[in-house]
C-alpha cells in the first residue's frame, strides 16, 4: 500500500473492513504523529475492528487443521480446532497449547507447557480506557526449531503479519517471544529471555539468559547479548553487549572492574 489511508479510501471507494485493516495494518507511517493522536486513532480503530472480528466469527473461516501423520502430539496438549498446521516428525509436548493461525513446520520440538500463538500485547492507552490491539496475524515455526518448556510465542498483530522462528533456532525455557518478531536461522535464545514486539534477530545471534530486548530493534547477525542485559538500542552484527542498559561488553567490563576495585565511575572512565 503506497497510498495513504485517506486517499485510498476516497479514490478506490472500497470501504470493506478487511481492506481498511490491511491498510491500517501498516501503521508505522503514523509514528510521526503525536503519541496521543496516534493512540486515539489506533485505539478506536482496534476497538471497532475488534467488535467486527468478534461478531463475524473469523474462526469459522479458518482452514482445517493439517496435522502430519508422523507428528507426535501429547494427549494433554491442546491444539486449536482450526487453523493449525503441524509438519512431519514434529513433537508437541504435554500441556503445550497451540492456538489458531499457527504453522509448525517439520522436525520442530515444542516443549511442555509452551503456548504458541497467543495474542500480542499491543495496547493503545486512552484516557480512562485501555484498548487491546488486534492479533490477526500468525506464527510460523520453521524446520528444526526447538521451543522450550513454558515458552510463549505471540502471533503477529496485523492481518498477514507473522512471528517467525527461523530454521534450527533454539528458544529456551520460559522465553517470551513477542508479536511480529523474526528470529533468524540458528539463533539461540537462552532460558528466561524476553523479546518484545517487532524485534528482528539476525542469523546465529545469541541472546543470553534473562536478557531483555526492547521492541522494534534489530539484533545483527552473530551478535551476542550477555545474560541479564537490557537492550534498548540496535545491535550491530557481530558485536557483544552486556549490562542494563546494554553497552559494548568491553566498556561494561571496564566499568565493572572500576566498581569492583572501589573507584568511582568517573575515575574509572578517565583511566
Amino acid at each position: 500500500m503506497s497510498t495513504t489511508f485517506g486517499q485510498s479510501v476516497t479514490s478506490d471507494g472500497d470501504y470493506s473492513i478487511t481492506r481498511i485493516a490491511g491498510m491500517m495494518g501498516n501503521h508505522k507511517r503514523f509514528y510521526s504523529m503525536s503519541k496521543t493522536v496516534y493512540n486515539l486513532m489506533m485505539g478506536f480503530y482496534s476497538w471497532f475492528l475488534g467488535i467486527y472480528v468478534e461478531h463475524s466469527s473469523p474462526r469459522g473461516r479458518l482452514p482445517r487443521n493439517m496435522i502430519s501423520q508422523s507428528a507426535i502430539l501429547d494427549i494433554t496438549a491442546h491444539i486449536a480446532e482450526r487453523g493449525v498446521v503441524v509438519g512431519e516428525r514434529s513433537f508437541v509436548g504435554p500441556r503445550a497449547v497451540i492456538l489458531e493461525n499457527s504453522v509448525i513446520e517439520n522436525d520442530v520440538i515444542i516443549g511442555p507447557g509452551a503456548i504458541i500463538g497467543g495474542k500480542g500485547f499491543n495496547c493503545y492507552r486512552l484516557p480512562l480506557l485501555t484498548i487491546p490491539g488486534l492479533s490477526l496475524g500468525w506464527v510460523r515455526i520453521s524446520n528444526g526449531a526447538r521451543i522450550g518448556c513454558k515458552a510463549c510465542v505471540d502471533k503477529g498483530t496485523r492481518r498477514g503479519a507473522e512471528t517467525r522462528i527461523g530454521k534450527n533456532c533454539i528458544v529456551g525455557d520460559g522465553v517470551h517471544v513477542g508479536h511480529d518478531v523474526f528470529l533468524g536461522e540458528e539463533s539461540v535464545i537462552e532460558p528466561g529471555a524476553m523479546i518484545a514486539g517487532h524485534v528482528v534477530v539476525g542469523k546465529q545471534a545469541f541472546i543470553g539468559k534473562n536478557a531483555t530486548i526492547s521492541n522494534s530493534l534489530k539484533i545483527g547477525d552473530t551478535a551476542r547479548v550477555a545474560a541479564g542485559s537490557v537492550v534498548t538500542k540496535e545491535v550491530a552484527p557481530g558485536s557483544i553487549l552486556s549490562g542494563n542498559f546494554a553497552i559494548d561488553m568491553k566498556k561494561h567490563m571496564g566499568q565493572y572492574e572500576s566498581v569492583a576495585k572501589g573507584e568511582s565511575i568517573e575515575r574509572g572512565n578517565q583511566t
Binding site: 497449547v97 497467543g118 495474542k119 480512562l128 513454558k150 510463549c152 524476553m194 531483555t212 534498548t232
Partner: protein, 301 residues
Amino acid sequence: VNQLREEIRLSTVALAGTELLREGSFGSLGYLSDKRAQKLVFIETEDMANKITQDDTVSCAIVGSALADRMPPAIGVLVSSNPSATFFEVHNKLAAESHFYGDPFKSLIDPTANIHKSASIAENSVRIGRHCRIEANAVVGEGSVLEEAVSIGPGSVIGCGSRVCLRKDRIAHELTSTGGVLLRVHSEIRANCCVSRAVLGGDTILGEYTMLDNLVSVGESAKVGRRCLLAANCAIGSHTHVGDDVWIGPSAVLMENITVGHKAFVTIGSVVVGDVAEGQKVTGNFAVDHQKFVDFIKRIR
C-alpha cells in the same frame, strides 16, 4: 470470600511456650505495613516497636520479652521467644482449626462464562462472573473471584498457594494461604502468568481493565490499580501497591512492600526497590529517575 467474621481473643491463641501479658482481641493478622484494622502483628526489632506506637490499627502484638514493656497500654501483648515463628504458627492454627478466614463454599460459575474443557477450576471457593473466558490448561485455584468479562490466557495459574517460607533457626515455617485473588471487571491475563493467593487473609487484586502480558508473576497480597499494563516477564513482589494507569515494562521487577504511584512508568528491565512517586519514570537496576539514568548511560556508552 474470606470476610473476617469474628474477633478472636488473644488468650485463645496463646500457644505453649508463650506468655500472655495483656488480654486483647484482634480481627485480622497482618504485617505492620498492611493497612488493616484491628490486626495482630509481630514485633521483633526496635524499629518495629517504634512504629507500633504511631499505628492505631494494631490491636494485638506478639513480642520478644525485651520489647514487651514498650508496647502501648491499649494493645494486647503476647510474649514469645521467637515472635515471627509464633505469629505464623497462630496463623496456621487459625487456618486449620477455626472459621476465622471464612468457610469454603461450592464454586459458583456463571453459565455465560466460557471455560475451556482442559482448564482446571477448584471445586471450592471460586466465583466466576458473567462472560469470563478461561483458556486451555489455565488453573483457577481456591479463593479466586473473577468479576465480569475477565479473561485468563492459556497456562496461567490464578490463586496458586504461595508458599511463603520463613527461615528461622534453620527451620522453614510454611504458611497456609488463606486469602484470595480478586480480578476486577475486564482485567485480562495472558499466557503462563502466575497470580498468587494472599496468605494472611485479604486479596491479591488486579483492577479494572488491567492487562498482564505473558509470564507475569504477581506476588501475594499485591494490589494493582485500574488500567495498568504489565508487560511480559515482569514480577510484582508481595504486598506491593501499584496505582492506576501504571506501565510496568518488560522484565521489570517490583520488590516487596513498595508503593508505585498513579501514572508511574517503570521502564524495561528496571529493578524497583523503593517507592515510586505519582507520574515518575524510573529506570535501571536499581531503579533511579529515568533522566538521570539516561544521562549516566550516555556518559559511559
